[in-house]
């Protein structure tokens, strides 16, 4: 079972397919859960506090806006954990934690600079393209090591 980073980080289709083919999706929802169920924090809506953009300094300097660093504090650890990644380019409406394109560029760059298997493909523009989109993902997921790691 491989830990697979997905982009867009909140994608239903990607998270489902990764799980369906026997791997673990590293999705932002799990990070958000950790935040929002932490009762010692009270910083609605996502419980990101001014401490998070400081955590984000690991990924970008102070000159990079706080919104980028705050998002990276959420998503960066997922990338560090990743053993494989699926990046879908040009997804439809993107906002929230993927609403900042600078963060997305940085995120993808960090993924690409890791020595892990990566599948990059475009979001299907029509329904006819969807099967091929799905097959590519399935083939990629099939190629990842399945055996249980220690």
């Amino acid at each position: 079972m491989a830990k697979v980073f997905i982009y867009p980080v909140n994608s239903l289709i990607l998270a489902d397919l990764v799980e369906r083919f026997g791997h673990k999706p590293l999705a932002v929802m799990n990070q958000v859960r950790e935040k929002v169920t932490n009762i010692s924090l009270d910083s609605p809506p996502v419980n990101i506090t001014p401490e998070d953009p400081k955590v984000g300094l690991r990924y970008a300097a102070v000159e990079v806006p706080p919104g980028v660093r705050g998002r990276m504090a959420l998503i960066g650890p997922l990338i560090e954990d990743a053993e494989a990644a699926i990046i879908v380019e040009a997804p439809p409406v993107n906002f929230g934690c993927v609403g900042c394109n600078r963060t997305n560029e940085l995120m993808k760059y960090i993924v690409r600079s890791k020595d892990i298997p990566i599948l990059e493909l475009r979001y299907p523009e029509t329904e006819e393209n969807a099967p091929e989109f799905m097959y590519k993902i399935a083939a990629f997921l099939e190629s990842l090591p399945r055996e249980e790691e220690k």
Binding site: P8, N10, S11, L12, I13, A15, D16, L17, E19, R20, P25, A27, V28, M29, N30, Q31, V32, R33, K35, V36, T37, P44, P45, V46, P91, P92, V93, N94, F95, G96, C97, G99, R122, P124, E127, E128, A130, P131, E132, F133, M134, Y135, K136, A138, A139
Partner: protein
């Protein structure tokens, strides 16, 4: 009273099936008597509860029509007021709309999963063409202008 509370998780179950309706899936959960909270939505269900129970419930639901029922995690528990439109002054929640976009693609994904199950993967089609080189474009324009 020394119970260690198990970690609670939330899953979004999206039903894109001709055979199963969200209400059927919800009934299935109610009958199963798992200690989980179920919220029906226009796409399917949101299930919150102890991790183990939620995982078992989602597995059960998926089995109802496995290639047409999709599951993902959700950060916020069902009905959390930090993300509730009513208490947050309206406006879209980021996750909801991306989900709505993806849901439109699910019938095609489901069909592809069916096909994959039936006969294995099909071949990829050729990749997209690169952009025209600037020098090449210049050459063409010059040739056109010279005509």
């Amino acid at each position: 009273m020394t119970d260690v509370k198990q970690e609670e998780i939330t899953k979004v179950i999206v039903i894109s099936s001709d055979k199963v309706l969200p209400v059927d899936a919800a009934m299935k959960i109610y009958e199963s008597e798992f200690p989980v909270t179920v919220k029906e939505t226009c796409f399917g269900l949101i299930v919150t509860g102890p991790a183990e129970d939620v995982l078992m419930v989602t597995e059960e639901i998926r089995k109802l029509d496995k290639n047409h029922i999709f599951v993902k995690d959700r950060g916020f528990p069902a009905g959390d007021e930090r993300r509730c439109r009513a208490s947050r002054g309206g406006g879209p929640r980021p996750g909801f709309h991306f989900l709505r976009e993806e849901v439109r693609m699910l019938p095609a994904i489901g069909a592809a999963l069916d096909e994959l199950e039936a006969k294995g993967p099909v071949k990829e089609s050729p990749t997209k063409k690169d952009k025209l080189k600037v020098s090449e474009l210049e050459r063409i324009i010059e040739a056109e202008l010279a005509r």
